[in-house]
Symmetry: C2
Subunit: 420 residues, 2 copies
């Protein structure tokens, strides 16, 4: 495998409250080319810091990819610093300038002096066109090291890398000659990290070229399998074997693979079975509906949702009995099942889904603490419900609750028990 380092440039990534997410996409794409990201670095808009980071990156990685700092403003320094560390001068690139002029003209705008600086590119660098933005990127070699400079705006970075960047790296990647590394993520919900860990323990040392990693979060526990091998064939057969073993141990808790999400899996299930669903949510405030409608084509299974936040809205919108609300409380098995049944009827759909709970930070009692959530799925014949006390802050509780609701629906649709 060939090593790469991704360098994200921009003070806003150090102190401004923004996370570098470009590197997630790049790491995946590079792996497909047989290039392994070994390091990611974030550095601010100080020329000497950027220079030091790039020089260090050249020492430990064959391929260095920068994101950010290609814009027209004062703090866009990438072109200058890369020219310096690669010992090239900046030259005005006519094709790049023409592309910038053309793109701005299409938006009815002239080229400003600042924008022409974006066509100043290190001498003899290979230009990468920007199909969705203004600033071009570029690629060049420094001795046997490759450096590629991409914009920081994620949509521009992605298109530029896919349409021009990846091709530049192929000659460096070396493919199967340098060995193969495969990675796969299996996503589980319903087990704690310790439970997943103990189910997998005998696999940790079973194969020398396999590494298993766990990551626990609001969407459950993800198991990552990394396989290294000399040849891609043996890597693939090892991956297949290990994946089967992990799947066996995870059972129904396994809900998705790779970058698939719970809502994506549900969309496939609902579409395949031509089922429709209506949602009633209290503590999640719209999150369950939002997730179900985040998938293209969701209108085939999702028609409407009710955000019944106040007790009055539960009575008025869903005709939940005021007596029931008073006697059992809004956060109760009785109310959540009544909600699921009511929205199924009102929406005239195959299924009704409901969730109610205490997201906090206030509103908890000894009997009903912050984090207590009830949720339910109703069909024509039955209504199933579950309840749990979730940890985390308000947003964490809401996200965990939404995941639990969707997971219950997933298990119901698979004909599996709704709990482990």
């Amino acid at each position: 495998m060939v090593d790469a380092e991704i360098v994200a440039i921009g003070s806003e990534l150090l102190l401004g409250g923004a996370a570098d997410t470009n590197s997630l996409f790049l790491a995946d794409e590079l792996l497909k080319l047989g290039i392994e990201v070994r390091y990611k670095t974030v550095v601010g808009d100080l020329p000497k810091d950027i220079e030091a980071v790039l020089l260090h990156a050249f020492e430990r990685a064959r391929i260095v990819i920068t994101t950010g700092g290609l814009g027209p403003t004062e703090d866009d320094l990438t072109r200058k610093v890369v020219a310096r560390v690669t010992g090239r001068r900046l030259v005005l690139h006519n094709d790049a300038l023409a592309a910038i002029t053309h793109r701005l003209a299409a938006r009815g705008r002239p080229v400003t002096a600042e924008q022409t600086t974006q066509a100043l590119i290190p001498h003899r660098a290979h230009i990468l066109q920007n199909p969705v933005g203004i600033a071009p990127g570029f690629f060049l070699m420094r001795d046997d090291r490759g450096v590629m400079c991409l914009p920081g705006v994620p949509s521009e970075m992605r298109r530029m890398f896919s349409e021009g960047g990846a091709g530049c790296l192929e000659p460096l990647a070396g493919g199967a000659l340098h060995g193969s590394l495969l990675r796969r993520r299996l996503r589980t919900f319903g087990l704690t990290e310790s439970e997943v860990d103990s189910r997998l323990r005998d696999l940790y040392r079973a194969e020398p070229n396999v590494v298993l990693g766990l990551q626990a979060g609001e969407e459950g526990v993800d198991v990552s399998i990394t396989v290294r091998a000399r040849h891609v064939d043996s890597a693939q057969s090892t991956m297949k074997r290990v994946e089967r073993a992990v799947r066996d141990r995870m059972g129904h808790a396994l809900y998705a693979v790779g970058s698939q999400t719970m809502e994506g899996v549900l969309a496939l299930q609902l579409k395949a079975r031509r089922l429709t669903v209506t949602v009633a949510e209290s503590c999640t405030g719209g999150l369950v509906s939002q997730r179900l409608t985040s998938i293209p084509g969701s209108s085939s299974y999702f028609k409407r949702g009710y955000v019944v936040y106040s007790n009055k809205s539960k009575v008025e919108m869903l005709k939940i009995s005021g007596t029931l609300l008073n006697e059992k409380g809004a956060v109760s098995r009785e109310v959540v099942t009544a909600m699921a049944e009511a929205v199924r009827a009102r929406g005239n759909t195959d299924l009704g889904v409901a969730v109610t709970g205490i997201a906090g930070p206030s509103g908890g009692t000894k009997e009903k603490p912050v984090g207590l959530v009830f949720w339910a799925v109703a069909d024509k014949k039955q209504t199933l419900w579950l309840s749990q006390i979730f940890g985390g802050d308000r947003e964490g509780i809401r996200r965990r609750a939404s995941q639990a609701v969707l997971d219950m629906l997933r298990r119901y649709l698979s004909g599996k028990p709704v709990v482990e």
Copy 2:
């Protein structure tokens, strides 16, 4: 200023599709102590890579903070590697073990052999208790450099840093002696990045110790102001002056400061004026309601929301005229204003808010392309509406649309014009 480097440890952060967000919190907190994060590095679970990264960090930063790799599993290597690079041996720390045992007992669980490894801490390190999880963290010195190891789970990391970690760093921070760096983020919505840039251009070089940075995203354009000065007093007075100048140029587009969000600002406005709001949303599928209810205490202004995704649901839930829907289309000025007025009446609230649009990727036409969104705010006397074609993918369009809806409500509540 004292320099710091944050090192995030974990292969899932390199290749597993997870972004490091811990460093956002840490950078903010460190700045309050007078410590500037100059570099962030992400490294996988390979001992020699972690070791190399830590050694390099000690060269360029006075304070090194690691996150992750403190758990009980095979790939939790931080304790071991930090002991090695600081030349200390790992010893079983009795207080740490007692705390681990106690926390597990509270959950009705015994301590496993793997979990006791979490009490193996470099000799004479200062232990940092974990108030919400199992693994303790620690702090120690390596010559004149400080290294602090925190867990990777964000909620644990935050509590541990705030309740024990920050205090350990104060003696190293040095405060005003080392000069002062202040940073402030002003958030705008409704202007393009170029518009913000041209309004600020004369300020870029006006003060030698001031750096202005722009970041454009789905929530608008953020302007960051960084001020460096020898003394905190002069930094503060410069910041005050520059912030005033930026505010003047941004006008009504400025909606928040620092980590404040649009929904947070709206919550304050609605609570202060004791107003209530009902939401009807189509293309955003619950996102507007979810954002409005994400603020603690939102039940004082938000009572209910309608996710009217299908045309039928608009007719049945809001009594929008079927003729109107047929003649004007669901994505139209006429329908969005009718929706806002209908939910205001049904919810019996001061305000009604509505949004309808084409989130894509399909469903667009020449007259009504993907990205076209209408939104409206209704009060007792009038209904205001706006429309725009948003760029981006499905989720990007939905998020931009939700921000535009909330921004309109913000401007309405401030008595300002709803557009620039």
